[in-house]
Symmetry: C2
Subunit: 486 residues, 2 copies
């Protein structure tokens, strides 16, 4: 990392922590030179970088000012929770999800805000594919055999080595590798629930989780989620009193689409006060946890788990290699059942991709890559957020995530997100409409924007065009359609 | 293929078709020279090859004779079918399966007759891994992205090109790639059944199928299976009259462990007379279908399917690359549902391994490799069969499969297969005991021997030692244990 980037990151942190507020003048170039002992050129580079990220603006003869960001964050409770687990309308949601995925598959040229995938430009494709090629070339005689559950030994060792970063210890024997995080979630749900059971999920939440529940014959009990702090624990406690909940399924660290991250005290209360006394397992989706924008990753809920009730699920799909399908589960007390279900579901996880990821971790390339990727994502999220502020209609609200790479945008109430999504598609822009993130079709005036791509004219033009469509729709007469749950 | 190999194959076929019977003198070397217009050396090489395969023996001053193979095949109906779908005792079976898998994982030095995996020695590991390395190095910018369902376009095209070999046509759009055949079977069952439903399976059958049923909350209705012709259709018809069956799950071509292959007329009757009128789907496991010992592969039941009721499931795990986890399903009328379930189960199939398999098929290396592998497997199966005849106790019976690489051995009735399996493990020999192939713990005096490895001293010694253990157990007093269903 260059010195000017370090300086820019420091100032960005102060802006994010509201030490500098919108409209404030930040330290002058001269002051920065003295404070940090750097050249004028370096100080200027730092500010130019922040300007590029959309965080500060130069005012002639005056200096650099924190750019006005008039967007508040969405309401704490953006949706009602369900009193009872509600049946998920799979086919309806599936069709809309399919539109989003199809734009990704068939139209890579579309402005890519729809699917939460990191751009190949910020992934170490050459290095990781070299590792894959090496694994394919150099492994021993049984190189290509089934790697039966629990899976690749060195990969499990590398994962166990890193668990303390998340605040807990785990043995390699207590890890099972999977075909991506999605299989891990499925195994966790199948190990802890039976068809007909109710599962508490946050709302909004990742549509894949909702669809997995439906496909397993499980009911979703939606718990309102706060854009910063995640599931509303009081609401969860109420739901646990009213309904027999078989498990909770929460993305505790940089949830999708909210970007929320549970504070330690919430994690402790969730595990120690709410779940452990009732013996309710927590399926913890940690797939975004490595993508913190700050210096360290938050602890996993597993850190407070004394009973083996927290099943940690993750993968390398969001931070290294989506196409490898290498994920894992740390199933706690459900280890034997999970291992058996893994065998029955896909028999084994691909051998070479596991070997490549293990080698990538062993060599230290993993940490190096993640440091760079975190910086890139932080900058991308800030740029997209600034562009939304510039181009979208007045009255919108946008989340301010501390990790991951998605933004959740609340539009004026009368703007229909699905209609916006379809108009955007017609202009070759892919976004994800709010209703696919709910079991009840709620979040009708929200959209999710993925910030997986580095800033470029294509991204900028896409956001400007999307803003124009949204502005036109917001300016149109409030449509007479049926009232919608939000 | 060398000329002497062609000649040997022709004679082997005549032996297998009982044109030459055990004890018969086969054509003399001189006659062969005249018949085929070859040199004496070539004729001798052909017989030496057949001798090596355990099919003929030289008698001094007399010539070559078909080796006596006193083993009859097992009874047509080796087990009773269930009147009702019976609950599968998952944990009991799972523990025995785990022992077999563990010997594979932890003890590669054990004599390897337990797990049905082709030896790396007969797989084109260097070529396929070069293809994987090339896919990892050379693909475009999105090389490592998710390959969302239906999966890799070129792989689906290559599969569609080959479907006519199995007697039907399919569009690439009607194929979904999966993480191995096991995921394909799971998706097929989930698309056609709901928890609590009954599924007709042949017995004995692959334990993974039985465990998958259990894990999905499905009940198994066991249909007796003939060692040559597969499921007993009269028994199936009776079961369909008595029980509401949601689907059939049959390995129609070289089943595991029987090695049976349904004749065309049985396939026609199954699809046209039994299933189509009742609207019952057939999940057809074709994972061994490419491993025919004869010149052409049998047709799939799909060839008689006019209603989209046959879901064909397969993979490259048994014939190319077990570790790649590349499989597929041709789901007929259940396409939309299967594609959705695939997305929910594992999101996507590994990208690079699919690309490598597609390239392997596109280049023609696939067909070249399969030709050699079929010859190798035919020879290995014949050698193991001959060694069993030599070393095992009198009164055993062994299947005579026309494809695949497993043998199903019926021991004297008082020999307990699980006890034999454990004694064999203690002598560093891995086998698969019969009861794991039944939902009811039947087949107590059967074992499955995998012939995935080329003949070697280690294989020969392993079979001799296994024969000694079995002979000792057969000679021992009939044990007083509880009577067992077979």
């Amino acid at each position: 990392m260059h010195l000017y980037e370090q300086i820019a990151d420091g100032i960005q942190e102060m802006i994010e922590q509201r030490v500098f507020r919108p409209g404030d003048r930040v330290s002058s170039v001269r002051k920065l030179m003295v404070q940090r002992g750097v050249s004028r050129a370096t100080a200027l580079q730092a500010y130019q970088l922040l300007e590029g990220r959309g965080l500060v603006e130069a005012r002639p003869q005056s200096g650099y000012y924190v750019k006005a960001m008039p967007m508040p964050e969405p309401d704490a409770a953006t949706s009602r929770g369900a009193e009872e687990g509600e049946q998920i309308e799979l086919e309806g949601t599936a069709a809309k999800v399919a539109e989003v995925l199809e734009s990704f598959r068939e139209h890579p040229e579309y402005a890519p805000f729809g699917v939460a995938v990191p751009s190949p430009e910020i992934l170490p494709n050459r290095a990781i594919n070299r590792a894959l090629a090496a694994a394919a070339r150099h492994a021993g005689a049984r190189q290509n055999d089934y790697d039966f559950p629990p899976g690749h030994a060195e990969l499990r060792r590398q994962l166990a080595l890193r668990a303390p970063d998340a605040g807990f210890a785990v043995s390699p024997e207590d890890i099972v590798t999977t075909c991506g995080c999605m299989e891990a979630l499925n195994l966790a749900l199948r190990a802890t629930c039976k068809p007909g059971d109710a599962v508490a999920v946050e709302t909004p939440t990742y549509y894949g989780q909702l669809q997995a529940l439906e496909s397993l014959g499980l009911r979703a009990v939606e718990i309102p989620s706060h854009p910063r702090t995640g599931p509303d624990l009081a609401a969860l406690e109420g739901a646990l009193r009213r309904t027999r909940v078989a498990a909770c399924l929460f993305t505790t660290t940089y949830s999708n689409p909210l970007g929320s991250c549970m504070p330690d005290e919430h994690r402790r209360a969730l595990v120690e006060d709410l779940l452990t006394p009732r013996g309710i397992p927590l399926v913890e989706d940690e797939v975004y946890a490595e993508l913190h924008h700050g210096p360290a990753r938050p602890r996993s809920c597993r850190a407070w788990d004394r009973e083996g009730l927290v099943l940690v699920c993750s993968s390398v799909s969001k931070c290294l290699a989506p196409g490898f399908r290498v994920g894992w589960i740390m199933p706690g007390r459900f280890g034997q059942r999970v291992q058996l279900l893994k065998f029955m579901n896909t028999l084994a996880t691909p051998t070479h991709p596991q070997a490549a990821v293990a080698e990538f971790m062993r060599s230290g390339a993993w940490e190096h890559h993640l440091r760079g990727m975190r910086r890139a994502l932080r900058a991308q999220v800030a740029r997209v957020r600034a562009a939304v502020s510039e181009h979208f209609p007045a009255g919108i609200r946008v989340t301010r995530p501390e990790g991951g790479f998605v933004l959740w945008v609340e539009l004026p109430r009368h703007v229909d997100a699905v209609a916006l999504h379809r108009r955007a598609l017609a202009e070759r822009i892919s976004i994800a409409p709010g209703p696919i993130f709910s079991a009840q079709g709620g979040h009708a005036h929200f959209i999710r924007l993925s910030c997986g791509h580095p800033w470029s004219p294509r991204i900028e033009q896409g956001l400007a065009a999307l803003g124009r469509i949204a502005t036109r729709m917001a300016a149109g007469a409030a449509r007479p359609g049926r009232p919608r749950a939000t």
